[in-house]
């Protein structure tokens, strides 16, 4: 890894750890996971509750966190831009520097209770998947927040407003629209369509992966050939995880381009 990039990231890590905000975020997940396991019953129950929380809140927290960073660090970023370093290096250094602590806070916060309650050993595949999805969602949504921060650089109200609307849309409304479409065009074969549409929303992608882990038994009860092929073979997992990778790559790439061309 580029040492300069690491130098920038390290500086953010130190600064964020001192801020305690991220530590608090990790503690919230620690307490949540621990109490889910302590009072809520077995591993699958806890993992499902955790993934529900994760699917709903990580996107919101990630985006707010990303955009807030841009807004709070404007002058500092501008100062760094006047130093003799490449903008690309600065972008990656900052992005990695601020997204990985949030990601690690979630992963460690959830992992530790899963470990000391012994779930990690029993439901290791499911645990790894929930933690991995949370990690990827964190990166995706921090990069979206970053992007929105750069796009609405001079208008914070608009930036935050846009973020909230995007979250509401992706987390809740989108699925409502899908359901509406399904009922409107119910007489046509829709399997391919709903799969394609779900692939366009990163929260849905993560949800589908959770579903593939925990609801395979129910999915196998469905008789449609396309769904069966998608859910029944590794195809669903492969398609969903590669789409998630795209979802991570595209906003970070656009963010990089915007950052590179932007007038500060």
């Amino acid at each position: 890894m580029n040492t300069l990039l690491l130098h920038i990231s390290k500086n953010e890590w130190k600064s964020l750890l001192r801020g305690k905000w991220v530590v608090g975020y990790g503690l919230i997940f620690l307490l949540l996971t621990d109490s889910l396991l302590r009072f809520g019953g077995g591993g699958p129950e806890a993992l499902l509750s955790l993934s529900n929380v994760m699917l709903l809140f990580i996107p919101l927290v990630g985006m707010i966190y990303g955009i807030l960073y841009i807004y709070q660090s404007r002058e500092f970023v501008e100062l760094l831009l006047t130093q003799p370093i490449d903008r690309k290096v600065l972008y990656w250094g900052l992005f990695i520097g601020i997204s990985t602590p949030l990601m690690l806070a979630f992963v460690l916060g959830s992992l530790l209770p899963l470990g000391w309650h012994g779930i990690l050993m029993v439901d290791s595949a499911a645990s790894a998947m929930v933690l991995g999805l949370g990690a990827v969602l964190t990166l995706i949504f921090v990069s979206l927040g970053f992007l929105f921060g750069l796009a609405f650089y001079d208008d914070r109200i608009k930036g935050f407003g846009f973020t909230i609307v995007v979250w509401l849309f992706l987390a809740i409304l989108y699925d409502g629209l899908v359901l509406m479409l399904v009922f409107t065009f119910g007489q046509y074969p829709l399997e391919r369509f709903v799969i394609a549409v779900s692939m366009l929303n990163p929260i849905d992608l993560a949800r589908i992966m959770v579903m593939l882990e925990f609801d395979v038994s129910a999915l196998m009860g469905y008789t449609g050939a396309v769904f069966n092929r998608f859910f029944g073979s590794g195809l669903g997992t492969i398609a969903a995880s590669s789409m998630l990778t795209l979802w991570l790559a595209i906003p970070t790439w656009i963010g990089l381009r915007v950052f590179n061309k932007k007038d500060f």
């Binding site: 300069l4 130190k14 002058e75 061309k261 007038d263």
Partner: protein, 234 residues
């Protein structure tokens, strides 16, 4: 040295730089003046690479700017508003920038002593007064001994004593052959620090010449009056 040719920049519909031509030779101390919104900050930001021009060329030390960054090795910049990450200590910021530039911080100790920053080094930046933050900014700009120094409203937050020290330091830099560029609203300060004046109005350079000439031509004793009369003409 800095050479600028037909530099144009618009933000949306607003034309901020309307075809600027400028040559600032090495070792010259230049003040940039003009009303708010005239294009001073945009001009400096463009030279620093913060803002990308729509057209025209900028050459710094014979390097043509095209999104490259190496030329900034020879540039020190002190921003107008000094805000730094809250959870960083002063010495950590200095170390961080040193790590970024990978250049020898020749004047680090000297500047810290001059600005009396020693007792502040272990403090968090969020606890620093505005004046001390400005001093940190000045230190960052000058400690690597760059040939080109940009100061954006440098004395705005400084107390008279610190201001005094800062001006002394800039004079020394000038005497050591540095190219110094300062924007300021305080004309008396410019009179003390610079030999040349660039007056910008509405995205154009209205005047570029030596301070002496300006005062002679405009029959004014002070820079303030000279600038005011130019604005009246416009």
């Amino acid at each position: 040295m800095i050479e600028i040719n037909d530099l144009k920049k618009s933000f949306g519909n607003l034309e901020v730089l309307k075809g600027m031509n400028l040559a600032i030779p090495k070792g010259q101390a230049t003040g940039i003046v003009g009303p708010n919104g005239a294009g001073k900050t945009t001009l400096i930001k463009t030279i620093l690479g913060l803002v990308k021009p729509d057209s025209g060329t900028i050459r710094v030390n014979d390097i043509t700017l095209n999104g490259n960054w190496q030329y900034r090795r020879d540039i020190g910049y002190m921003p107008q508003v000094a805000r730094y990450p809250e959870n960083m200590k002063v010495f950590e910021l200095l170390e961080f920038i040193k790590g970024l530039r990978k250049q020898e911080a020749l004047f680090e100790d000297e500047l810290i002593e001059q600005f009396n920053l020693g007792p502040e080094l272990e403090k968090f930046l969020r606890t620093l007064s505005g004046g001390n933050r400005q001093k940190v900014g000045a230190t960052l700009a000058m400690m690597f001994n760059p040939g080109l120094l940009f100061f954006d409203e440098p004395t705005a937050g400084l107390d008279p004593k610190a201001s005094q020290k800062f001006k002394q330091r800039v004079k020394n830099e000038k005497e050591n052959g540095k190219t110094v560029i300062i924007t300021s609203h305080i004309m008396s300060e410019l009179e003390q620090l610079v030999d040349y004046v660039i007056f910008i109005l509405d995205g154009n350079i209205r005047y570029y010449g030596s301070m002496k000439n300006l005062l002679t031509e405009s029959n004014e004793e002070r820079l303030e009056g000279a600038i005011a009369s130019m604005m009246d003409v416009a």
